[in-house]
Symmetry: C2
Subunit: 490 residues, 2 copies
């Protein structure tokens, strides 16, 4: 028998950890804080990558690759940047091992010490702007619209699979522009690309907004973000896009000759999403039976489980299944046929429920006779019998329904857990309860810090798309321009 | 004006370095031995990745991701393995920076020293087999057919763009099997996948064979390889597939319960190709005018350059070009239309010749009148005028011809530069001249080393697909079972 998941109500964090491992998504490795992304988890990440990559290319970006190592002196060139990352840097100091003189094994060869230490990239602004200096002379060389898919390392003390790991996979876009306006346009465009991806592929509604100064990326002038609400009432920052102003251009002396022949500093943006999205995906849709995947990101959208007593029955079923599989694949539906005879149907049902496959199709000897199949939707667990030809026609429709249903459910969950607080007391009660809490804030880091100390809530963002309703800060009583979004967060 | 390439005859190494940089493929970074892969170079690598990934999946493999760091103790568990890699390991010793007490900048925080040093992976057998231990209990868990796309670091002292860099990108397949036979089948299957890829996509003929013991992967029982001949008469190892026996299973104590209920060690393979293939591609086809790309790997197969005097002419041409572009894209041909008015047609011709675009299409006002286009093939530099409709029909044919022609040329170059040596003197003259030299060898590492000392030639492989003609070793006079392949190499 399979191990049963801890329920969400019982212990949400425990449920999450078990689910990630039991569904074959990821596991901890022998290296502190670094995870192994298992094939099924990686297949979901590959789907995310493929869709995002397409969207980046459609908006004119190209991929490139920059070194994993950053000389310590590069990292130090932008003051706020190094302050933000220094405390979590993995540092390479030597480039050789040797046999120990006492024969006890392999040790670091002290004679192979690097003159300058190298940092395993926590993010690549510095190495990239050192490179862009060589690429940019004139306005003709701009814009540069480059993205890289890479691994990065931030030495986090408390790690959790996908959500916070010492090494993670991500993409980081780094663009260079001749005007501030163009750079801001790019920053906004990319946060909207992320929002669109979250909504259309992850079926995850997000709030788009600006970070407060305190929560801004180290080295940015403005950080735009998308924020999602998880089932336990905590917020998760799912993607960020930074307007970097001329900070990195100044740190690395990157100037261009404009059309008037004058030298100017270049304007920059950077933007990224990471394997953290996997955590967001899991915590948006899954249930006590396991993972629930939106069809647009499922490694396979339909799993077919045969029910048979003997080899002859299996052969009959398989011949029918192969034709169903072919016609589904023809219309772009991905199908897995699990005809293993080492596992019982019941075991398989539990397995694919755990793995969140959107549709499960069961077919046995009686179905063959009747020309029917039994379908179970993962989102509703609803069971229904179809004539085979009917099902083939409707499968895309059903998958579309599941995708929409997941989004609708997540949206209504968010709606039910979004509040506006009008007094300090109300605010603190709501934050304790969990969810998104809109409240007035005076715009100062001091008040923000005070609120965090008292309630553990942080400002998730100053949202766009809200009416600018002025009011008074709940904590300081000073005037506030608009409601901002508070929550406890991952 | 563009800088002119050094010719191959003048200085092959210099030609290569200039070409890689001028064609926008890669450049050196500020980090010793680490390269920046530029967008155009990365686009070729992406094409390679996509095709290889498809072939891996067709042969039943899945992707996953394992940590970039390997604890020093893991690396040490397989004796031959650590011997092979210890001298080129980047070692992480600390996990934090801090402000120096004298205010001079950021320094390593000595209080954040790791208990055990971490090695930036030079290859992942050890961390993966530490993981497989958790995945494998019974024969039902086998085979495991996993691949990862990743960056690796080997601290090479002398580096060259793509050919030998401290950091490079690659894929590494790591499979686990219940029988020796199955593992050997896998090893052979994957070297054949590589050979097929080299031939059908890179248009690069390769010799498939076995490495001698001396050239074997550190930790392998057998290493299979594909070897290609570069234009300067040197060999390049383009891919390897290793039969690892039970070495890593023993080092990490990975056993399974077989069908009879007995515990056995698991059998292993690993196999990889890297961004080194970019170097092989360049040195197989390119000429003194620049890069020459096989259509199957070109980021865009056709470039269209308009010739115009004014805006009105450009508009007329563009409207025609857009319809050509659409109909070509419809049949799966990738097209770039370079309508920039900041560069003259002559500049663009040189640029796309340098970048190796298979077909260049020029279209001017007279072409619009006559319904014609001018086509230049990059491989032959042949110029021809076509009726537009004719061209649209034939473009796939022409691209196919280019792909074949490149392969045919490379094959005939190899044929012309492959020799059989019957005496020591003849062998040494041929090696000096350059090319593939078949010769008899007694099978010992001593003779192999002696030959290397005297001639700088190494055994590239003991080729399959040759008749086993016995003879006598040219150096020791001892009996030899078959001819083996010698060459100087990259």
């Amino acid at each position: 028998m399979k191990k049963k998941l801890t329920s969400r109500a019982q212990d949400y964090a425990q449920w999450y950890n078990e689910l990630v491992q039991l569904a074959g998504l990821a596991e901890n490795s022998g290296v502190r804080g670094c995870m192994v992304i298992k094939p099924y988890g990686y297949a979901i990440w590959e789907k995310m990558q493929a869709e995002l990559d397409k969207m980046f290319k459609q908006t004119g970006h190209e991929n490139a690759y920059f070194p994993i190592f950053i000389p310590k002196s590069y990292l130090s060139k932008e003051a706020a940047h190094v302050d933000g990352f220094a405390k979590e840097c993995a540092v390479v100091t030597h480039y050789r091992l040797k046999n120990s003189s006492d024969g006890s094994g392999v040790v670091v060869d002290e004679s192979a010490k690097l003159e300058e230490e190298l940092i395993v990239r926590p993010t690549s602004e510095t190495i990239i702007w050192d490179t862009y200096k060589k690429w940019i002379q004139s306005y003709r060389d701009l814009p540069i619209l480059v993205n890289q898919w890479a691994n990065v390392v931030r030495w986090e003390m408390r790690t959790r699979l996908f959500l916070r790991t010492a090494e993670f996979l991500w993409q980081e876009g780094h663009t260079a522009h001749s005007t501030k306006k163009e750079a801001i346009f790019e920053t906004e465009q990319m946060i909207n690309v992320y929002a669109e991806f979250a909504q259309n592929f992850m079926a995850m509604p997000v709030i788009v907004g600006l970070k407060s100064e305190k929560e801004r990326f180290a080295g940015a002038e403005e950080t735009y973000c998308i924020e999602a609400l998880m089932q336990d009432g905590k917020a998760l920052q799912a993607g960020t896009s930074h307007f970097l102003g001329q900070n990195f251009a100044k740190a690395f002396d990157v100037r261009f000759t404009n059309k008037q022949g004058k030298r100017e500093f270049v304007w920059a943006t950077s933007w990224g999403v990471s394997t953290r999205l996997m955590g967001a995906l899991i915590m948006t849709h899954s249930d006590d039976n396991g993972l629930v995947l939106p069809p647009n990101l499922a490694p396979f959208q339909v799993v077919i489980v045969p029910v048979f007593k003997d080899k002859k029955q299996l052969e009959e079923i398989s011949s029918k299944v192969n034709s169903i599989k072919k016609s589904l694949e023809k219309i772009g539906v991905s199908v897995k046929y699990d005809n293993r005879d080492t596992h019982k149907p019941g075991w398989k049902f539990a397995e694919y429920e755990l793995k969140g496959v959107p549709l499960r199709l069961t077919i046995g000897p009686r179905d063959i006779e009747n020309g029917t199949v039994e379908i179970v939707r993962r989102d509703t667990l609803e069971k229904k019998s179809y004539a085979i030809s009917d099902f083939e026609n409707q499968v895309k429709l059903i998958l579309g329904e599941i995708q929409e249903n997941l989004y609708r459910n997540a949206l209504s969950f968010r709606k039910d857990n979004t509040y506006e607080a009008n007094t300090k007391q109300e605010f603190e009660e709501l934050i304790k309860k969990g969810g998104f809490v809109y409240a007035h804030w005076d715009g100062t880091s001091e008040t923000e810090e005070l609120i965090k100390q008292k309630t553990k809530a942080t400002i998730r963002c100053v949202p766009f798309n809200t009416t600018k309703k002025p009011g008074k800060c709940l904590y300081s009583g000073k005037p506030s321009e608009q409601l901002v979004l508070f929550a406890k967060n991952y």
